[in-house]
Amino acid sequence: MKTHKIIEKARKEGRSFLTENEAKELLAGRGIPVVSCRVARDEDETVSLARECGFPVVLKVNSPKIVHKSDRGGVFLNLKEEQSVREAFRKIIKNYQDVDPEATVTVQSMLGKGVEVLIGTIADRQFGPVVAFGLGGIFTEVLKDIVFRMAPISPEEAGKMVRQIKGSRLLQGYRGNPAVDTLSLQNIIMRVSRLAFEIADIAEMDLNPVAAFPHGAQVLDARIKLR
């Protein structure tokens, strides 16, 4: 029910992308662990939300007109105190003034270092809903280390995906880094595949990055495109 309400709202506003906080709300409603973010409209609200979150925090640009947030300085990580939050807020607003003068920011907690992965879906012309899993960043985009399955899939099949990628060893722990919680990843992949299969309104999803830790995994950023 909640899923449809979020989608309806975006449709009414003529948008084909959900904002980050909408996307995360939708995912959380399906039992997918997300680092929730809150929208702040001005500098002071940003600071007070940052205090509520607890430092360090992450600030990201928030606008229905912006899909790729990091392209021109819309993401500031690891802000440790009030002054750097204020500076980051001003930079974001300045960087995006010409794209969207009404752009605001989101505030979320900065998590410790995990292994970053990508979980996504597409609505393929031939196969219908398809779920993807890969290591994030250059692993996916340059090395094409990503695997696909027709949705929906079982947790066992999701486990095969996790083991199938070439960089699978990075998840099992290497050079002193601990192994990450692949069961949590499997669980997210399975839930995302069901979401893509059950909700025909969703065309594409990017849960990117998803941070995997020795215990648990969480969606740090999410993008959902409607049909």
């Binding site: 990508l118 879906t121 031939q126 990503i146 695997v147 696909f148 399955r149 027709m150 594409e204």
Partner: protein, 466 residues
């Protein structure tokens, strides 16, 4: 597919009588060659050429129209242009004929008019319950009843492999390779434009067909890959399906704004998803045929542990590379096998005892070769064995010994004689008769092994069918 549809397909693959509409007396025309294929293929049922004026072709009486044929026709082959084809299918539908093959081109591939004709064909098929192979196909065959309903009058070996091809040319390439490999074919169908009967219909039919043990598929592309992979996956739980898909260019959707969309290449999707559903994929005609051959002749292995015996290292290393491509690694040698090998070759061996077992020059002699193969087959760690040798003008091949060793074991045995297709014809016949596939290259041998391992690991349901 409904039971009725299945029955209709069974009937037109095994017809009592076949009509050829558009039969002519000119050998350069398709209509003549459809008739020639039927006659020279040795079809035992009744054959009725249809032509408005001619009286006799190839010594067979010609009828002016299907309505004049004094018999129940089970299958009509239509060698007319696309517009006349539609009229004839409708006419045949009214006469109660349930099966047709249409070779005509000029349908959807030419644009709107062709698409409209196909739509009409679907309507006619629904209205009269007539099933159509094609259009735009070279035809179909059922060698079990000597039916060659294609316009290529060729003679082929009868066997248990059935083939479904989206392309006439590639279908032909596969058939010819099967002939080279001494591999018998059961049924062949060129699906053409798949207007009425789809890939999945043929797959479902062949899954239930008692004459078919293995299904080979050549695929260019389909509109509903979701349904195809689901059906292919279901069928692959009953019988081995080997699929060769062309069109590997990874042209992605440039318009997408998500990372996932921008890296989702069509062939990678195809490969990952067909694997997800347990269907074996081949990357070439030789691989498709090598896989079908092993699955046709061998029983399925109890596990995926591969043993290799050779007296020349190179081919076994090449085969190992191919196996590694398919994520198959090989186990070590059991100590008792090492003791047996020493008992055969002597204590002071110039080679290291491991898997692949490489006997060097000591194992060329057929009697020794046979003993070593027997020892390898008895290794408790091996589920399947591949052996290599290089035929020589003055040395006898170990054919007799391989057959004898195979008889004593329940494990699948494949062998490679490095040679030409013609050079090992007699050995091939003898070995394959005994259930040992003979290949002439290490790559094909490895592909055969990989196919057996793939389906061997799919579980007991398939083994019971095989």
């Amino acid at each position: 597919m409904t039971k009725e549809d299945m029955e209709i397909m069974r009937r037109f693959f095994d017809p009592r009588s076949v009509a050829v509409v558009g039969a002519t007396d000119s050998p350069d025309r398709v209509g003549y060659n459809l008739l020639d294929s039927l006659v020279n293929g040795g079809f035992k049922g009744n054959i009725y050429p249809v032509h408005p004026k001619l009286k006799e072709i190839l010594g067979i009486r010609v009828y002016p129209s299907c309505i004049d044929i004094p018999d129940q026709v089970d299958l009509v082959l239509i060698a007319l242009n696309q517009r006349d084809t539609i009229d004839v299918v409708e006419h045949c539908g009214k006469l109660g004929i349930k099966g047709a093959v249409s070779v005509a081109g000029g349908f959807r591939e030419t644009g709107d008019e062709g698409r409209a004709l196909e739509k009409r064909l679907v309507e006619i098929s629904k209205k009269y319950g007539i099933k159509v192979v094609g259009p735009n196909t070279l035809g179909m065959m059922n060698l079990e009843v000597n039916l060659n309903a294609s316009f290529y009058p060729i003679s082929l070996k009868k066997g248990n492999v059935s083939l479904i091809s989206q392309s006439g040319g590639m279908g032909f390439s596969i058939i010819q390779k099967c002939s080279d490999e001494g591999l018998g074919i059961n049924k062949f169908v060129g699906v053409g434009n798949r207007t009425v009967l789809e890939f999945s219909d043929y797959l479902e039919f062949l899954a239930e067909d008692p004459g078919t043990k293995v299904i080979g598929v050549f695929l260019e592309g389909v509109d509903d890959a979701r349904r195809l992979v689901q059906i292919a996956g279901e069928v692959a739980c009953k019988k081995p399906v080997v699929m060769y898909k062309v069109g590997h260019s990874d042209a992605v959707n440039e318009a997408t704004l998500t990372h996932t969309g921008s890296v989702a290449g069509p062939y990678q999707l195809f490969r990952d998803i067909f694997k997800q559903f347990g269907v074996l994929l081949a990357d070439s005609v030789p691989e498709l045929v090598a896989a079908c051959k092993a699955l046709s002749l061998c029983r399925l292995p109890a596990g995926g542990q591969v043993g290799i015996y050779t007296y020349t290292a190179g081919p076994s290393i090449a085969a190992l590379d191919r196996l590694a491509d398919r994520e198959i690694s090989i186990p070590g040698l059991a100590p008792e096998t090492g003791r047996k090998i020493k008992a055969i070759l002597g204590e002071d061996l110039p080679v290291i005892l491991r898997n692949p077992i490489d006997s060097g020059g000591l194992g060329i002699q057929p009697e020794t070769y046979g003993l070593l193969v027997e020892a390898a087959l008895e290794d408790p760690g091996f589920d399947i064995l591949a052996t290599f040798s290089c035929p020589h003008k003055n040395w006898r091949n170990p054919t007799k010994e391989l057959i004898a060793a195979h008889k004593k074991s329940s494990k699948p045995l494949l062998t490679c004689y490095i040679s030409t297709v013609k050079g090992v014809e007699a050995d091939r016949e003898a070995l394959q008769q005994a259930g040992i596939p003979l290949y002439i290259s290490p790559d094909e041998t490895a592909w055969g092994v990989a196919a057996l391992v793939h389906y061997g690991q799919k579980g007991s349901a398939l083994s019971e069918n095989a």
